[in-house]
């Protein structure tokens, strides 16, 4: 692959699959070339230059490798990630780390809509803010947002934890199932069946651990917890005015 840039020493080592860092420049390589390499990695560490907002950067990785994206990413960066540790040195478009299974994804800037959507595992850290629908239909992923999240975040959230160090927009946790939400700042109108819940010691402990893993030093005591009232788990006609 012409776009891969390796030192001579690395190139020699690549024959035995022990290259430490491979650089791929999207100014000359395609996303297809990048992902083909990441899906059958010959190295343990990658650096992606000039991402220029390209979509699907690092989508479908399933090995424990490090990928450092030096710039802004488009839609679905690190989509369905398994095992890999991905850092975006910029902002990310729609659906960053959507349906992530494991590993970590860190966005140094802001994230657009549907960050971490349907994620089933792993840790997504957004150091800036996230737009609407952050954590929509989340199914076990942990998401920590350094700033604020937009409306309808954690919509139909099934499992996992969403931590918001700033504010949350309207409709937080609408139709939520068993996910746990922690917000440090203000919360707009809560979504249907989402209620504030008691912050017990086990919640402070898990929040402290999530903040530590994400690299934030906020006091867990500054957060409030939200979750499901479990009032909509079974249909009755009396619910018709709830939605």
């Amino acid at each position: 692959m012409a776009a891969l840039s390796r030192s001579e020493a690395d190139a020699r080592e690549s024959a035995v699959h022990t290259v430490h860092t491979v650089t791929i420049d999207l100014a000359s390589a395609t996303v297809r070339q990048l992902n083909a390499e990441l899906h059958a990695p010959t190295a343990t560490s990658y650096e992606v230059l000039h991402p220029q907002g390209a979509h699907s950067i690092g989508a479908g990785i399933h090995d424990e490798i490090d990928v450092h994206v030096r710039g802004h990413a488009g839609y679905f960066c690190a989509g369905m990630n398994q095992l890999a540790h991905v850092v975006v040195d910029g902002s990310a478009g729609n659906g960053v780390a959507e349906n992530m299974m494991s590993g970590t994804v860190r966005v140094r800037g802001d994230a657009s809509q549907s960050a971490g959507a349907t994620g089933r595992g792993g840790l997504l850290v957004i150091e800036g803010s996230a737009s609407m629908r952050c954590g929509i239909s989340m199914k076990g992923i942990d998401i920590v947002v350094g700033g604020s999240v937009g409306p309808m975040s954690a919509f139909m959230a099934q499992a996992g934890r969403l931590v918001v160090c700033g504010d949350a927009g309207d409709g937080l946790g609408d139709s939520i199932y068993e996910a746990r939400l922690y917000v440090r700042g203000s919360v707009g109108a809560l979504g249907a069946d989402c209620v504030e819940k008691e912050m017990r010691e086990e919640h402070r402990a898990e929040l402290a651990e999530l903040l530590r893993a994400a690299g934030f030093d906020h006091d867990p005591g500054e957060f409030r917890r939200y979750g499901s009232a479990r009032g909509l788990y079974h249909f009755t006609s009396e619910h018709s005015g709830t939605y």
Binding site: H55, S56, Y75, G79, M80, N94, N99, S114, A117
Partner: protein, 440 residues
Amino acid sequence: MKDPSERGLRESATFDRASIAAIQHAARTGVYDIRGWGAKRAVPHFDDLLFLGASMSRYPLEGYRERCDTDVVLGDRHATRPLHLDIPVTIAGMSFGALSAQAKEALGRGASEVGTSTTTGDGGMTDEERGESKTLVYQLLPSRYGMNPDHLRAADAIEVVLGQGAKPGGGGMLLGQKISDRVAEMRTLPAGIDQRSACRHPDWTGPDDLTIKIGELREITDWEKPIYVKVGATRTYYDVKLAVAAGADVVVVDGMQGGTAATQEVFIEHVGIPILAAIPQAVQALRELGMHRKVQLIVSGGIRTGADVAKAMALGADAVAIGTAALIALGDNDPQYAEEYEAIGSAAGYYDDFQDGRDPAGITTQDPELAGRLDPVEGGRRVANYLRVLTMEAQTLARACGKAHVQHLEPEDLVALTIEAAAMARVPLAGTSWIPGIGS
């Protein structure tokens, strides 16, 4: 007691007995009717079309001697591994959850035996289904229940579901009585709750986003798998154009007769259009884009016989999909369970309460005892038999029209029995050259 009509009593056409019963039920319970199956109302359908067999002006093929091929290639627009099916009849998406694991396995066995594909559903991929399905299409639905990139890679094709014919614009529904521990675990939900699936995808909105989403799926699967886009039949002309523009390799159009595991009856009977009206719209869209036969068209919704298969293909479909008919082949509504259907307030031939999990035939249930009634091997054999019959019937009609491949059937081989069917299918009323809406 004489029948009321024999005593001079008059039943209202507007407030007929079914309408009166529905009002009484709503007033008594405060809930609307939820059921499975598809639209039960009479709509223009394939029965309203006839083939013009060969005679003087056309040359037929010998029924038992000359070849009439049935194979179809799906998804060769972009995918490096398109599907090669032996017959143009596929098994539509139906979830584990809606169906028992035994039923899913049986569908896989039956489809594999005759060289066609089956499809997952709104609940993820089970080992039984993958193991017994030679060719398996993996659905990407708004709920993303059980969505797993390993399963994307293990699948033979991917179907992005925007809707289905029974409920275009609606999400899925699985009531608590069918959320067993295994179903709950696969869907990451508490057992026993009424589960609501989203009607919109969580991470994209609109056709431009879908283009990018399809790009992501191709990247995840290294451009190997065909990508289908499935829509419920409504604004089919526009939906097909947009699906093709978004990069679909295959477009699946499901008419309003298409079945569901559960939704509101008002939805089933009042939303969407018959498949007969949808196919010509889809074909027109593909032709205008220069994509007919390049992006394959699969249609579904009320396919019962080889005649339906042949007529759908004559109108321009590349293949069809069956759901309800496949369940019937497995044993759904079998008279051998007549007493049990009666005991749960239904009857063999009428049973549509797929949502309540008490299916005597063990198909639409998660009850281990009921599900255990269905032998996946025997069920698979029945499905394979039925698929063979559909195929042979379609071949019979194609040969009669002089076609050496069922895909060679064309609209010119058809006429309509009613003005409505002529207008929808865009073929002439029998004995005339009149296609209503097209010209004289």
